[in-house]
Symmetry: D2
């Protein structure tokens, strides 16, 4: 039984994490922190936990959390997260960081895209990226794991086999992604106000979304040089789910079945990647840790579809998968 703590436990990723961990037979949730005033029970913030989890949200200092736990999930905002994690460097606690702070390769790119000097630049580029399908061995040994962004998860799982095969061009990739609103967080804003978002679809942050360099750098680690990706996210009026529609240009003449085979072979034995023949719907992956992939070959171009639950494989499901890998539990436990 390992003891865990969650830093910043009021948001949607933390909520989904708690929901999954309550099913985990080897985990006990010990501490939930929040910078909010007062010490509300978690069920006052998330009524779904009434009668299920009696913990209070406390302003406990991170090093005190570290002292009581074996694993910390940081759901703090970027920059705030690295601040805290840097302080825990000499503790024994293992950390899974939901923020973007340790995903990128270098401090310059971080500063360019996040508009801040990185608080802990030395470790950048050395932290395991928490996609076990691609970095399982590194995750297993890591004290700190950077939990992937939701869009990068969908895009990287679609693109990794193709780029590794060298059957596609690296510089003409388009990722057109559609996401439910929970990806935008729990802080009320006009863009996520019900009447604004409902019954509408809209693009946002075109060419400026921070997940674009994340996709490029992580895929670069796999193939040894950075591909160029044009990434266009869209908001969809639903709670959960991401569909990434990925357009690539083949450099070889292969049939649709051969492309499907390529994916199937690449992900053989992976418990959470399902290479399917039908066109996936995000709802097929709802509340799960699955990523559903398929391909279509149209007019000599290849379209790859990748569906996940942004709070599942795109965040909290992946975090628990990483915990399972790190602590030697069966990888599908609780998932």
């Amino acid at each position: 039984m390992i003891r865990v703590g969650i830093l910043g436990a009021t948001g949607y990723t933390a909520r989904e994490l708690v929901r999954i961990l309550l099913r985990h037979p080897e985990v006990e949730i010990r501490v939930l922190t929040s910078r909010q005033e007062g010490r509300p029970p978690i069920s006052a913030v998330h009524p779904q936990f009434a009668g299920r989890l009696e913990l209070e949200l406390t302003p406990t200092e991170p090093h005190h959390v570290a002292g009581q736990t074996d694993c910390i999930f940081s759901c703090l905002p970027h920059a705030a997260s690295a601040d805290v994690i840097a302080q825990l460097a000499d503790s024994d606690v293992r950390i899974i960081d939901f923020s973007a702070d340790y995903r990128l390769d270098d401090a310059a790119t971080y500063q360019e895209w996040y508009g801040k000097r990185h608080p802990d630049p030395e470790r950048l580029g050395q932290v395991a990226y928490g996609l076990p399908e691609l970095f399982r061995e590194q995750i297993r040994e890591s004290k700190l794991v950077a939990n992937p962004g939701c869009y990068p998860t969908a895009a990287i799982l679609a693109l990794a086999p193709l780029l590794k095969s060298e059957w596609i061009e690296c510089h003409t990739i388009v990722v057109d992604a559609k996401s439910g609103l929970s990806g935008a967080g729990r802080t009320p804003k006009l863009t996520t106000h019900f009447v604004e978002a409902n019954e509408s679809v809209s693009p946002y942050s075109v060419g400026r979304h921070r997940h674009m360099p994340e996709m490029e750098q992580i895929l670069g680690r796999i193939i040894g040089h950075r591909p160029s990706i044009l990434f266009t996210p869209h908001l969809i009026p639903m709670d959960r789910g991401i569909l990434a529609t990925v357009y690539v240009r083949p450099t070889v003449n292969k049939s649709e079945d051969e492309w499907l085979d390529l994916l199937q072979t690449f992900y053989e034995g992976e418990p959470f990647v399902r290479v399917v023949e039908h066109l996936p719907a995000t709802k097929d992956t709802l509340s799960s840790n699955f990523c559903d992939l398929t391909v279509r070959l149209v007019k000599e171009r290849l379209v790859v579809f990748s569906a996940i639950d942004n709070l599942g494989k795109g965040a909290s499901g992946a975090a628990v998968q990483n915990l399972n890998v790190m602590f030697g539990f069966p990888e599908t436990l609780a998932l």
Copy 2:
């Protein structure tokens, strides 16, 4: 051609009002005010008006608005609205007030329910309540009209014929209402955050909603004494629409057809009240100024269903209907 101004033009009721007025052949929108910083064009706040209305939102003082217009719609919050309207008492401009400030009969009730001393108590109880179906002659002559609340509109139109007939008990009325989210306004809050409100139904302000005394007082004006209403509002994951399910106890033995006849006779010739035989859906009234009513007699109790669009007949549609009555235009113009 009459010139109109809208005070507080950023919210949903003002937006819907502009949308309707742009179709009105006898109205010219002259001024839109907002206390926001800057002087953004209306299309920067509501992109649907791009290319349709080139006005800026300005912080124009109300008496200057009055000087340029024949009719002012006040979409200001309660208390703020009466503050302004009190200052315009000696102007010639006619005013349709969307706030609750002039709907109630007396300052004591206002203070009890709105938690503030009324800024202009002398006029309370003398202002026309903007439901032409019940107060048309008074509206026609009025300089100031109190535009009704959305829930009261649905409930009062259902209950007025029944209470007037004296065929029902006055003190056992239940109004169970279901409303779309636009009724909660445009200011982002956790309760109206997409992921909180979507895929959920929940009651709120049970026994404490300010529209409860409004229903009782207005119906009291019609029958000469106040009925007692138990009002329970619920939030429904949709943009627009209110369904009021009204439970009453008959004091006479009548058939369902006789109840339907009662409503049909009461609303004969009314252009915006449709007494129908089928069970109405809110969507039948979407973007319209209609109120659809029907009844069902079950186990000797009567259930009345009343469906409106909360931004149509429940707010901005009603306001234009009132303008038409006040200025002698055909009542259905632009509606």
Copy 3:
């Protein structure tokens, strides 16, 4: 490990049942039947099960299913279900029936409300009603359990403590219920067509819904005589969830806290009924087996709010809870 079969496994209640049973450590799904043409894998009908359950949907005869299993869930339509269950009378298999066939007390009421002669009238009135909170001992011993209707579950859990206390009138009860669309089944119809149901709320089957006599008869079993309930269901544009708003008239003078105490005492120790102080939202119970209850006292009338997931506590969650009771597993296993 018990072996289970599901008859009629294509609908939403069966799908949710499979989803829950896949997490159940003491259950193995052996057979899924369907009268559809062909023998599609379950994942072709419900892609969420791709890679998780490899069974085919087969037209297996019920007595063959009985021969291979310890427990059968019948998700067949009413009448069809009793036809099959009557044939399995001399088998050892235990049965949980999702249909309405064994919920009512007598064949005459069945015929009146379901428009058919009951295929197995002798057993009516003797079958355990699958609400463990009220009938746990009877369920434990039963070979056949009638899984409750979704609306009755929400209403009965709200009303049972009040009626047992004799603190309320029995003949003035109103149940105004709001339900997501999954309650209407998986067969495409105009009323459940997306564009018809979305962005709309509408009542249906007012005074004619089959769950009305079910509520009355089951509550009658508890208090020894039948209460009278006016039941009004409404369709809400969401997938899952029921909120029942229950209006009752107290016969005693009690405070809101005393009413809350009454519920809390009644459900003390029940793992799935949460008596809460806040107003519940259906989303708090999403994908769970919980029923959230609270009360408000307004103008000497009592309003009880009861929230469930219609596919959880309202159907498949309850069925697994019944299985746990019947087979001596911890009641919360897999839930």
Copy 4:
């Protein structure tokens, strides 16, 4: 005042058409046909028209409709529509055809994509395509106008200025489109069943959608040779709206402002195309005849966003715009 008839008046495009025409001061709706049994009033099929339009849906023969009207809108399914229109060739009535029957250039392409021999092949390629922004003069003179498909409208309005400028490649165009459910029609199917479509996004008909050759052929008419378009439609859980995200490769080095200028100049004076600087949301065009366009230049590729209401500019709004052009009314009348 012109008299109009609508053939096949039960679907969503006909419903929206009636809604718009009821506001049209120069149009009188004379006949609504339907092959349904009985002669239901239109308000029995579409309750929103209760009290607004008292016509019955009748099985009137098309040539009788032609005898009573000046303009017929055919909302019949493809093939059925051309069958009827071919019979009306020697009548004086002018026809706006919502079906795809007269949109394509040749019978072979029609047969390839629609799986049927064309019933009236001689006229193919000579019929005006009902996008006044591109074919106004031809529409003005036409007896028969092919009302455009919803996806082609969004894509063609985005692409026409770019292709005409010869500033982009013609064979690397990608159109990734997102559509609300009303585009899928009013016939209940599993894919448009609320619980299947809600809270999900999914691609469909990838590389096989019939609107793909329509886009290519119509754009081909403008530039003199056919471009190649990879078209990927997706279903979005909302009633109305299409967003087309169009990816093109520039052949010239231009700034984002220059691209925007290109569009603005092209559509100068067009009342229904709004070239905006912000990223458009489909909701900005809801219930309107607008098409909102903007561009973003990212990594030397150009992304064009095109938002319409699929029932507005994508169908019925466009049809009324065409009627206005054909009969010499102001083009924005009723729109």
